[in-house]
């Protein structure tokens, strides 16, 4: 095939891929009468940013946003700290049960959310953490942890033992060597892992839906997912909300794409 043919094919195939995004974006810029108008148009003559302002009064999206940020940041921080310690231990120590643990972490990726949700609901209610931001953050942390441990385990393995031994000989404690020598070396990998954790929590819907119930604790995906069915007519405001909600993941991903993709595929192929 000629180069030009391939390039043309690439661009043509990008159309169906981008279609849902474009249609959603186009809708988010339309006044309501034109949303429910036949035939539909791509670019409204009365293009407006009003849906982006109106959605905040239509649903408490400001609160949802703060909640989403809180949960995603807390879950990311906890996942990195707990996962980092665990990944370090698995990569640097020989101990009984290590292989089994790694296998269990891998298999827990396949655990259906549906298989833990009811007892989790009961447990959180018992602990007073049902319908709370802290409870949801902890749940997100633990569902992200197994994969993050595997990722970090892989990154720690890329640092030669000698580097660490040198630090130990110079009088560092194992944790000191981790902090001063190893972590700086795997910084790109840490970044990719943090991005993975942040996106995982930010986008998460199932647990956020079933473990919260009041508006003051809901996250954005719950706001969107729950009201998709109920407010069918305000597609422009819902589109605006979905567009705004997607901006942080898209921007973060574009910034860190190379490390992220490399880290993930290296983990899977290894």
């Amino acid at each position: 095939m000629k180069k030009v043919t391939i390039q043309a094919l690439m661009v043509v195939l990008a159309i169906p891929v981008m279609l849902p995004f474009l249609w959603m974006f186009s809708t988010s810029l339309k006044p309501l009468p034109e949303v429910n108008q036949y035939p539909p148009v791509w670019i409204s003559e009365n293009m407006t940013l009003d849906p982006y302002a109106d959605m905040f009064s239509f649903l408490p999206f400001a609160t949802y946003t703060l909640n989403s940020l809180f949960v995603a940041f807390l879950a990311t921080a906890l996942t990195l700290v707990f996962g980092g310690l665990a990944g370090f231990a698995l990569s640097r120590f020989r101990f009984r049960g290590k292989e089994v643990l790694l296998m269990i972490f891998l298999l827990s990726q396949m655990l259906p959310g549906a298989s833990v949700i009811i007892p989790l609901f009961q447990l959180l209610r018992l602990l007073g953490l049902y319908d709370s931001l802290l409870g949801l953050s902890l749940v997100h942390t633990s569902i992200l942890l197994p994969f993050v441990i595997w990722l970090l385990y892989g990154f720690f393995n890329t640092v030669p033992r000698e580097v660490e031994d040198a630090a130990l000989i110079d009088g560092c404690s194992p944790i000191g060597a981790l902090r001063r020598v190893i972590l700086p070396l795997i910084l790109p990998g840490l970044g990719a892992t943090a991005l993975f954790a942040f996106l995982g929590s930010w986008n998460e819907f199932f647990f956020a839906l079933l473990l919260t119930t009041s508006d003051s604790v809901r996250t954005i995906p719950v706001g969107i997912g729950l009201f998709v069915g109920e407010y069918q007519d305000v597609w422009n405001q819902m589109s605006a909300a979905a567009v705004l909600f997607s901006v942080p993941p898209l921007v973060l991903f574009m910034m860190m794409r190379k490390t992220f993709v490399k880290g993930l595929s290296a983990g899977a192929i290894r």
């Binding site: 279609l19 959603m24 231990a89 259906p112 441990i149 597609w235 979905a242 898209l250 595929s265």
Partner: protein, 289 residues
């Protein structure tokens, strides 16, 4: 260094995952043997009653069928498209390739809720752009109610799922393609291999390892997927697109029957173990042969 150090380092992660992943799994078994309602936690022991109810429920069998169709068809289509796109991107055509690769990856980055929402609006029977195009071009005479009719609902949800999942396969396949030693293609060329033979005897064998991860992982993840169906159809119309994870929620939070819901989640777990076992057996047989 003391012997306990690694265990101490692992402790926080272990405590949390035990509490939130392992404990619920065990508690679910206890739940599933009780007549437990959402309103009242003190259930009576009813043995396998909940399981009997589930296996007597036509909706369970319909959901099981739908879940299998959703998981298998969705994953195979995602892998096929992912492989196609990866091969396209693997042809070196200059800087445009990197931009296109980014565009092709984007559906994977947004929340499943956004994906479901975007597709639901795209497929809207009267105001969606798809029906408009199809009617305009004369391909269909009347608007199709994609999500509102039992014949098309599940297929539409699968389309959205494929759109969101193929990029993962694409990224993995691309990494796999880029790790094929060029020598192998050169050898094939020396032997006068056709394009098809190059694909069949060099590319595919090199992707076997990636595929053997992607296929089961994709099927298992899709089997467990709640989001797309819930956002797009909630399992409707008249349960035509109901899948097992959504049914777990139905039992618990619509019918308020925690016991039956727990039993169903155990059934799902058992089915997954069965699926994984079948897969492991196939893989190990192939290795031996």
């Amino acid at each position: 260094m003391r012997r306990s150090t690694p265990y101490l380092l692992l402790l926080p992660a272990l405590v949390l995952t035990t509490l939130i992943l392992a404990f619920p799994l065990v508690q679910n078994i206890v739940n599933s043997l009780q007549d437990l309602s959402l309103m009242d936690d003190s259930g009576d022991w009813i043995g396998l009653g909940n399981y009997v109810e589930i296996f007597d429920d036509d909706l369970f069998w319909l959901s099981l069928r739908n879940t299998l169709v959703y998981a298998v068809a969705g994953t195979i289509l995602s892998l096929a498209i992912g492989l196609g796109f990866a091969m396209l991107l693997n042809m070196k055509v200059g800087s445009i390739g990197s931009t296109v690769e980014l565009l092709y990856t984007l559906p994977w980055v947004v929340s499943p809720v956004v994906a479901g929402f975007a597709w639901k609006w795209l497929l809207n029977d009267h105001f969606g752009i798809i029906n408009h195009w199809l009617v305009q071009s004369g391909l269909i005479a009347e608007e199709i109610t994609w999500l509102g009719s039992p014949e098309t609902a599940l297929g539409s949800v699968i389309a959205a799922r494929v759109w969101q999942f193929y990029p993962f396969a694409m990224v993995m396949f691309l990494a796999g393609l880029q790790s094929v030693p060029p020598v192998q293609y050169e050898a094939a060329d020396v032997d006068g291999a056709t394009t098809w033979q190059r694909f069949r005897y060099v590319t595919l064998p090199n992707l076997a390892a990636v595929t053997s991860i992607l296929l089961p992982l994709g099927i298992i993840w899709s089997f467990n997927d709640f989001n797309m169906v819930f956002v797009m159809t909630r399992g409707g119309p008249i349960n035509a697109s109901m899948v097992l994870p959504v049914l777990v929620r139905e039992y618990a939070f619509v019918e308020f029957d925690l016991g039956r819901s727990s039993a169903l989640s155990i059934v799902i777990f058992a089915l997954l173990i069965a699926l994984s076992t079948v897969y492991l057996v196939i893989i190990s047989r192939r290795r031996v042969a």
